[in-house]
């Protein structure tokens, strides 16, 4: 029997759920491997019988916490889908402020009525079986993940930095073009997408298991960044800090 798959979204642009729909050439193969039973972006039907839940978005209200716990209980496997669910992505930037201050800045005096808590990645709320990183997810990586699960294999992420993919592509190092880059500490798997198109890596996929952060802070400083700028590079997509919660 095919695994029953659901897709849920919390605080995010929902682009990672959409990225699944954008696998247009592969979707027929995907539905040969799994049955989608619940996915608000793609279907009207709904179900509570779920084998694999892909969950997009960070957890940033009390209601989100309750709903995620429900999803965890009804699913055999829970997979974080994309940077918001994995690292909180840019939704975690608000965690540096007080919540009443955040509401005031965004909504003015009416903000007080909203329920908001510091953004958390899924794993800070419930046990997570696997995390698909990236802003947005890499569609190829999603498809390989679905294939591996259908084959009963545990999906695997690369544990090497973006530099590896730049070198395999023969890219000129971003630093040699006068820019700064998070590639040496950022987890690969995107095919060095941004550096390959003239931009630099912002570590949207999080860090490798053992990044040499101290060394990279020195490197960025040596290339002219201030302490504040170095912090900005490190935290744009990776702001979540348990101690701030």
């Amino acid at each position: 029997m095919k695994p029953r798959v659901a897709v849920f979204s919390f605080t995010s642009c929902e682009g990672c759920s959409l990225a699944i729909l954008e696998c247009e050439n592969e979707l027929l193969d995907v539905i040969n491997l799994v049955d989608f039973v619940r996915w608000r972006e793609a279907m009207t039907e709904t179900s509570d019988e779920i084998d694999i839940a892909f969950v997009d978005g960070s957890i940033s209200t009390h209601e989100d916490v309750r709903k995620l716990q429900e999803i965890r209980e009804m699913s055999k496997m829970l997979i974080a889908l994309g940077a918001c669910a994995h690292t909180t992505c840019i939704t975690g930037l608000k965690n540096r402020f007080g919540m009443s201050q955040v509401k005031e800045i965004v909504y003015g005096p009416d903000g007080a009525q909203f329920d908001t808590i510091p953004a958390r990645p899924l794993r800070a709320v419930v046990p997570v079986d696997f995390e698909l990183p990236g802003c947005p997810i890499d569609r190829g990586e999603f498809l390989r993940c679905v294939r591996d699960l259908a084959l009963g294999k545990k999906p695997k992420l690369p544990n090497y930095p973006v530099c590896v993919e730049c070198k395999r592509k023969g890219n000129v190092c971003v630093f040699f073009k006068g820019m700064k880059c998070m590639g040496p500490v950022a987890r690969a798997g995107c095919g060095a997408l941004c550096p390959s198109f003239g931009d630099y890596c912002e570590a949207c996929r999080g860090f490798v298991d053992n990044p040499n952060e101290e060394s990279h802070k020195e490197t960025l400083t040596e290339h002219g960044l201030t302490v504040q700028e170095v912090m900005n590079y490190f935290t744009l997509f990776n702001a979540y800090d348990e101690s701030q919660i």
């Binding site: 592969e26 193969d29 995907v30 040969n32 491997l33 498809l143 679905v146 294939r147 259908a150 084959l151 544990n159 090497y160 930095p161 530099c163 590896v164 070198k167 395999r168 592509k169 023969g170 890219n171 000129v172 190092c173 630093f175 040699f176 073009k177 006068g178 590639g183 040496p184 500490v185 490798v208 298991d209 053992n210 990044p211 040499n212 060394s215 990279h216 020195e218 490197t219």
Partner: protein, 349 residues
């Protein structure tokens, strides 16, 4: 054999002739300061023969960064076929250090198990070498690779104004020159090229030891503090191994299609500086720490493979240190080890 001279127009005609029969790959300028890459030649005017070094070594044309080794069909019956794709190719404008690097891979890939993909591509590969412009990171003279006496079909030594002294290495090289107007080199031209080479070698960075003794200098150095000292800022990003002309390692991965009907077994460049390289099935990592990986890389280059094959597995091209963001430098490491060894102060084994 007389030494001949080919002028600028002759070089252009040589490239055009080669293009009739093969894909011609040569150094091209890239975005950024002092960046070059081997690319297929579409316009001979775009070739840049006066260059320091390319980002990736030319081995990628015989050992691609990713290639399919086996294609298979799942189900009953299971069917699999080996994939070997090779085409006639000319690497035009290869430095001596990179020629040495290709020879290192020839030896390693034709050892106990002969790698059919490497051999098939090398069999159809022709090499036109060119002398080089070293920068502050080069140390080919220390590795004995500032010149090579084999491994090329033709070798060009710059005389200025786009003219070159031509050295012929093989019969195929001689045939390449057919129909081109060459003149005999003068004694002064030959002397000028020799003088330039001698001066260049003097300017380069040196290792404080006869290269042949390097494996001895690694004896008992597994516990040396040198490794931790130089690994402190290492990222384990693998840049040094991926840009190395003499690194031979790869990973083999299976890619099954989404419809689960077929798949490929591919190999991709891998390297011992990456954290997961020495992880085995139980999850144990035999080289968990950065310094252990740095140490392994250097033992392999200057001791293990040196002892096994009788030549350093380092061509002194300097790509590793040049492209390393924190400039971890094999010359500094070797000289530290040599100094430690000569001073007699070793720790532990």
């Amino acid at each position: 054999m007389t030494v001949r001279v080919i002028d600028k127009q002759g070089v252009r005609r040589l490239v055009e002739n080669l293009q009739q029969e093969a894909k011609v790959v040569a150094p091209h300028r890239r975005e950024g300061e002092n960046q070059w890459a081997f690319q297929e030649v579409t316009d001979p005017d775009q070739i840049c023969l006066e260059y320091v070094t390319t980002c990736l070594p030319p081995k990628e044309f015989a050992f691609p960064t990713r290639e399919t080794l086996v294609r298979y069909r799942l189900g009953d019956p299971f069917a699999a076929e080996a994939v070997i794709q090779a085409e006639p190719i000319v690497l035009f404008g290869v430095h001596p250090c990179d020629i040495y690097g290709l020879q290192c891979l020839d030896i390693a890939y034709c050892d106990e198990h002969c790698d059919p993909n490497w051999v098939a591509r090398r069999a159809q590969m022709r090499i036109v070498g060119v002398d080089c412009i070293p920068d502050e990171w080069c140390f080919c003279a220390a590795m004995g690779t500032a010149t090579v006496d084999s491994g090329f079909d033709l070798f060009l030594n710059a005389l200025g104004d786009g003219a070159y002294l031509v050295e012929v290495g093989t019969e195929a090289g001689e045939k390449m020159l057919a129909g081109l107007e060459l003149r005999e080199a003068t004694a002064a031209e030959i002397a000028a090229v020799k003088k330039r080479l001698t001066q260049r070698i003097k300017r380069e960075r040196q290792i404080e030891e006869d290269t042949r003794n390097l494996p001895l200098r690694f004896t008992g150095k597994a516990q040396s503090p040198v490794w931790e000292k130089h690994a402190e800022r290492c990222y384990s990003c693998g840049t040094c191994v991926l840009v190395c002309p003499t690194c031979i390692c790869f990973d083999v991965v299976d890619e099954v299609s989404l419809d689960l009907q077929e798949g490929t077994r591919d190999r991709v460049w891998d390297g011992c500086m990456l954290e997961d390289f020495a992880v085995v099935a139980s999850g144990e990592n035999f080289r968990e720490e950065r310094f252990q990986r740095l140490r392994h890389r250097h033992f392999r280059k200057y001791a293990y493979l040196f002892t096994k094959y009788g030549r350093p597995y380092c061509c002194g091209c300097g790509r590793c240190v040049r492209q390393c963001l924190v400039h971890i430098d094999p010359v500094a490491i070797l000289n530290d080890l040599i100094a430690e060894s000569k001073g007699g102060a070793t720790r532990g084994a």
